[in-house]
Amino acid sequence: MSIALQLLFTGIGIGAVYALVALGFVLIYRATNVVNFAQGQFAMLGAFGMVITTEGLGLPYWLGILLTLAAMALFGALFNLGVYYPLRHRSFLPVVISTIGASILLTNGVLATYGPEPATLPGLTDLPGLNFGGLFLDSQYLAIIAITLVLVVLQYLFFERTLLGKKLQATSQDKEMASLLGIPVAGMIMLTFVYSAVLGGIAGILVAPILFVSVGLGAQIALKAFAASIIGGFGDIPGAIAGGLAIGVIETFGAFYISVPYKDAYAFVLLFAFLLLRPQGLFGEKVSQKA
């Protein structure tokens, strides 16, 4: 029983990181109808931002987080202006290719400026974790789960209870109608990129103490996060979170009870199963049911 609980805890912790990155995928998809394949690199940049501010500049951890997230917000705006905005009137494919190009550029840009050496980053707390009768709760995983939970609640309140959130929702649902109603669509899309970059940055900051900081960090997470967003129903926010958690838990249990070498396969077996049996995902509607 304690092993199952241990695996569940770890799976939720890893799954929460997938969920955070998946949220970025979904939010940008809802706002622009394209998939941003550089979402994983946002996490990598967030992790490097922390290394530069805390290890390089010697700033306190909390200040490092604030500066990194501020930099990520600025980066999200620039990403929108450089990668999406010039192609906004083009079809799906050129924009997707543009984001793939941006992800390659970001990875190699960091490699060229920072170098290939992986860096270490301390966790949010010096405490190793809590021990409850054989169940070890790693402090970093606890932080990941708690912060994800808070972000999800804040995000829900923002989208459902604020005018700005409703404007963002309106933009994602029908850009033309939103524009006719006087909503600044370009501004809303800019805000979505800014928020997605910050979310990616938070995911990178949270996972870096566990996986180390390297240029491969983004790719390591992004593929699973992408699968999570499809499993949840692409474009669906609760679905992205549930998909991320499901993948984290299933791959952790599968690795322990079935086989570790096939750990990465479980996420994609689940993905295939959903694509075959429930292509609309966990919470998505069937296309035929939409008005």
Binding site: T10, I14, P116, E117, I210, L211, V260
Partner: protein
């Protein structure tokens, strides 16, 4: 106007002649200098998961090239490295090797320290038919009949023997867990270690393999902890995986004695895992205190690059010197004569050990045992085996 225009074009052409002449002379001089250099092609990871170790490998090779050239070169010619990025991937190294091999002036190549990549490039090595030094430790690489592969590190038949013998006979460990990556290197290492433990009358109580770049090792750590193992024998391919495992093992209170393959004692692993590796043992082809040659190299490397030397720089450093010795002995870069000259190298004291090439192309036949004493890698002993 057309006449005038024709004149100016003519003048421009005449004025350009000296420049063209200079460019031509420059080009001839450059190609003559290049023709006089002995080119060594090196495929190494400059990007991808192993980019850090690729840089160390490059530094080691460059140090040796500088030393050979400072001593007058080989056959009166300078050595020159031509480097291609293998992107830490099998397709990457195949492409990198073929780009290098398309230059007919390259006489000798340096391949990869990762067995899976050497397996991938092997068909092209046979086709190109020129000597390739490599560092991958899967024993099968030199047993598959490719006459052009030469190993500048000891293979895993020795590392497994040393891990098993040291763990069982010196540390008296009986209940073994084997952890290995699921690639060619890890699978081969796990198979050999299982066989060598069996020879000592021990059957591992659990075997765990994992995919490279695994984000989380909780299932592996819990499996080992639940097995009641008193020993871990490991073959980790990438230091980041080793670091994640070491830290999680420590967090979950897994205090099992750990004897690992060389990655457990290399610079990148020590940097990433830190105290999580304290108290572990490893077999290491490179150790700064194992010989005077190694010590001198390690000091020079540290002074130049400000990081401690390890096997990544060690095997490429030795490979360049071995190539230089073979070219000097063969008095030519003709591949067949070069191959014979490499196989004839006996008793050469490199930084990875003393090279006695056997007929299959293996140069080294032993390992150092090292101990991580609060982050410092301490030499325990050297174990050499007779050349087969």
């Amino acid at each position: 106007m057309p006449h005038h225009h024709g004149h100016s074009r003519c003048r421009a052409a005449l004025a350009g002649l000296p420049l063209a002449g200079l460019a031509l002379i420059g080009s001839v001089l450059t190609s003559t200098a290049r023709a006089q250099d002995i080119l060594i092609g090196m495929a190494t990871p400059l990007t991808g998961a192993a980019a850090e170790s690729g840089r160390y490998a490059q530094w080691g090779a460059e140090m040796a090239v500088a030393e050979v050239n400072a001593a007058g070169g080989v056959l009166g010619r300078k050595l020159k490295l031509v480097i291609e990025d293998d992107q830490t991937s099998n397709p990457g190294i195949v492409a990198a090797f073929n780009r290098l091999a398309s230059d007919p002036q390259i006489a000798v190549f340096l391949g990869s320290i990762r067995s899976t990549q050497v397996h991938a490039m092997d068909p092209d090595v046979r086709r190109v038919a020129k000597p390739v030094f490599f560092g991958g430790t899967d024993p099968l690489l030199t047993q598959a009949g490719d006459p052009w592969l030469f190993r500048a590190r000891p293979n895993d038949s020795y590392s497994a023997k040393v891990i098993a013998a040291f763990g069982v006979e010196t540390l008296h460990l009986q209940k073994w867990a084997i952890i290995s990556s699921s690639d060619a290197f890890g699978s081969s290492g796990a198979r050999l270690l299982t066989a060598d433990l069996a020879a000592l009358g021990i059957k591992p109580i659990t075997q765990q393999s994992y995919p490279n770049q695994a984000a989380d090792f909780t299932p592996v750590v819990l499996s080992v902890k639940n097995s009641g193992a008193d020993a871990i024998g490991s073959y980790f391919t990438f230091e980041q995986d080793l670091g994640v495992f070491a830290r999680q093992a420590r967090q979950f209170g897994l205090r099992t004695t750990w004897v690992g393959s060389p990655s457990i004692a290399d610079t990148a692993a020590l940097h990433l895992a830190g105290p999580a590796l304290w108290g572990t043992y490893g077999v290491a082809d490179f150790n700064a205190d194992s010989s005077p040659e190694t010590h001198t190299f390690a000091e020079k490397y540290l002074a130049l690059h400000h990081v401690p030397a390890d096997n990544f720089g060690g095997w490429t450093y030795d490979s360049i010197h071995l190539a230089a010795i073979a070219i000097a002995a063969a008095k030519t870069t003709e591949p067949a004569k070069l191959r014979a000259a490499i196989l004839a190298i006996q008793g050469y004291k490199g930084v990875e050990g003393t090279y006695d090439f056997d007929a299959q192309g293996d140069g080294l036949h032993g390992y150092n045992v090292v101990h991580n004493d609060h982050g410092k890698i301490v030499f325990v002993k050297r174990v050499d085996f007779p050349k087969p």
